[in-house]
Symmetry: C2
Subunit: 339 residues, 2 copies
């Protein structure tokens, strides 16, 4: 019998609303911080046992209804030898950002069995150990490209947009290579035991809708087209995507992530006949419990009456979040929605 998470992705009735949290594995958990003191980010990713352990930590502590493979949007780029570091408190930083056609050669095809050996071994360990579904982790081409072109996190994405509008041919070649990478990575994760996948286009919401539609959507759609046959539900996520929700849905996922800037009911109308995931503001978790519960109830009320809601935050867990609040929130959502 499928799990509530998988059922919700398929818009089937569930015994309760399933819950997981983006970045549930990470700095909000003391057991993660303890590991992070001993290992760098890429050391964690290089060890199947450590990757599995970090993925399992929130499942044990919080009682969430899904695990998500501990990874990063740029991990596949690192796996094929593109020089990138994850700086604490900053994010991915590329030694040599993408600048011209010549840089396309740095994006060689990935050989999952070799290049992703630790990641796939972690998936196999998790598949054996987990009682809840494992969500595979992949980056969408726009967000991957934005890090690679900017050289790191950005506020303005000026270089990325200048490339997209100024040299749309090169932009498309870059995105196509990145899409090939994500397709291979997610196919391999599902082959090793992931029951669903999430494609993170975290920063797509910095784009005007007409630019997303022309320069990003066709490439993202190819990812979902090529993975659909695997039978694993596919989630697509980004923030500040209010105006893009219909286009993100059109790309072809089964589930669309919704941040907190759009009321869930309005978001669902734009998404259409898909499941939705979200949409509590992560910052709410820093307020007193009564406020947290009231805000969670408002999300549940907006989702009530039709199947297909995965409860989540609108973006990742903030590092200062109290894990006890997360655990209490899981129990609260389960209790409020139990049928």
């Amino acid at each position: 019998m499928p799990s509530p998470f998988i059922q919700a992705c398929r818009r089937q009735h569930t015994p309760f609303t399933p819950v997981w949290f983006m970045r549930q594995a990470g700095r909000s958990l003391p057991e993660f911080r303890a590991l992070r003191e001993r290992y760098s980010f890429f050391e964690l990713l290089a060890s199947p046992e450590l990757t599995a352990e970090v993925t399992l930590q929130p499942v044990r502590r919080l009682g969430v209804d899904a695990a998500i493979l501990f990874s990063d949007i740029v991990a596949p780029l690192a796996a094929i030898g593109v020089g990138v570091d994850i700086k604490p408190g900053v994010g991915p930083v590329f030694a040599e950002p993408f600048r011209s056609d010549a840089d396309l050669a740095r994006l060689r095809p990935i050989e999952p069995d070799e290049d992703l050996q630790p990641m796939l071994e972690a998936v196999r360990i998790l598949h054996a150990e987990l009682d809840v579904p494992l969500i595979g982790f992949g980056g969408a081409p726009f967000t991957m490209a934005s890090y690679f072109v900017e050289g790191g996190p950005s506020r303005e994405y000026a270089r990325t947009k200048a490339l997209m509008l100024g040299d749309p041919g090169l932009w498309r070649r870059l995105l196509d290579r990145l899409a090939d990478l994500t397709i291979a990575v997610l196919r391999a994760q599902v082959g090793a035991g992931a029951a669903a996948v999430q494609v993170f286009d975290s920063w797509a919401g910095v784009l005007a809708p007409q630019h997303y539609e022309r320069h990003v959507l066709p490439v993202s759609a190819r990812i979902f087209d090529e993975l659909r046959g695997l039978g694993a539900p596919m989630v697509h996520f980004g923030v500040t995507t209010g105006e893009l929700l219909g286009l993100l849905a059109a790309a072809g996922p089964d589930v669309v992530g919704v941040d907190w800037r759009v009321p869930l009911g309005a978001a669902w109308q734009r998404v259409g006949a898909k499941a939705v995931q979200g949409n509590l503001d992560p910052a709410v978790l820093g307020a007193p419990w009564e406020a947290v519960a009231a805000e969670a109830d408002a999300v549940l009320a907006a989702a009530a009456g039709r199947p297909g809601h995965v409860f989540n935050l609108g973006h990742g867990v903030l590092p200062d979040t109290d894990p006890d609040v997360l655990a209490r929130l899981v129990d609260h959502v389960h209790a409020r929605t139990a049928t």
Copy 2:
């Protein structure tokens, strides 16, 4: 006869679409950078002549249809003695952030003639020198509070939101004091010669609409209510405000700023019977001219057929922007819309 900018704010027919740019005075201009090498930000604000000079620079070079008083959202806080610095490349940084009821006492009433003497003298100089309207500059309570509570710029606004949801009474007292400050500052600017005002709620778009409506809108509305009788058109602006546009309009301005994430036509529907200002993505200006012109034409096409459009960017000019592109864009908009 009123200027095209004022006419557009009032939704009257104009001989061409008026243009100005947020942050038109600033680091994109070499003449500004030259001054900034010799003076700190607050040294510029402390001198009426330098404030006026910096405000005039883009009018001379770019041919824009309005000037905006060179200032900062936190300038009134500095003027009443709250310790704040503007760090280059960072933004406002408070030595002692707002934490509790006791900090309300630091927000004493402002005495414009004393506390704002250099600012108001700059407005008088500009009123005498300018051939185009001067837009007064004020911060909206939410964005001012976010800087004061976080201690500086933020990505997550976690402390701000925790205060807002966790202690709504204190939050309201804080916002009311900040609104009083903005009302006094803008009234004084108009008294000294500003022909319009813009109230910057730059970061309001980080809020869920229901939080904005309950915890921010009533306070922002009081600003517009109290200033309406001055007769100066009032602009209200923020980014990532797609879902808030109707609420920003309900606060009572004459003109609502629109970032590039919402197509201007859709934005105008949400705003209703008001003028709109925007909405070119500032990052577009880094693309080749043909792309810039095409994007500007798309904005103009979305605004065509009804009066009440002020052409602007969806957010401030990026520091690396070529001033020649800005000047060319002003000419382009004028030529395309001349009747």
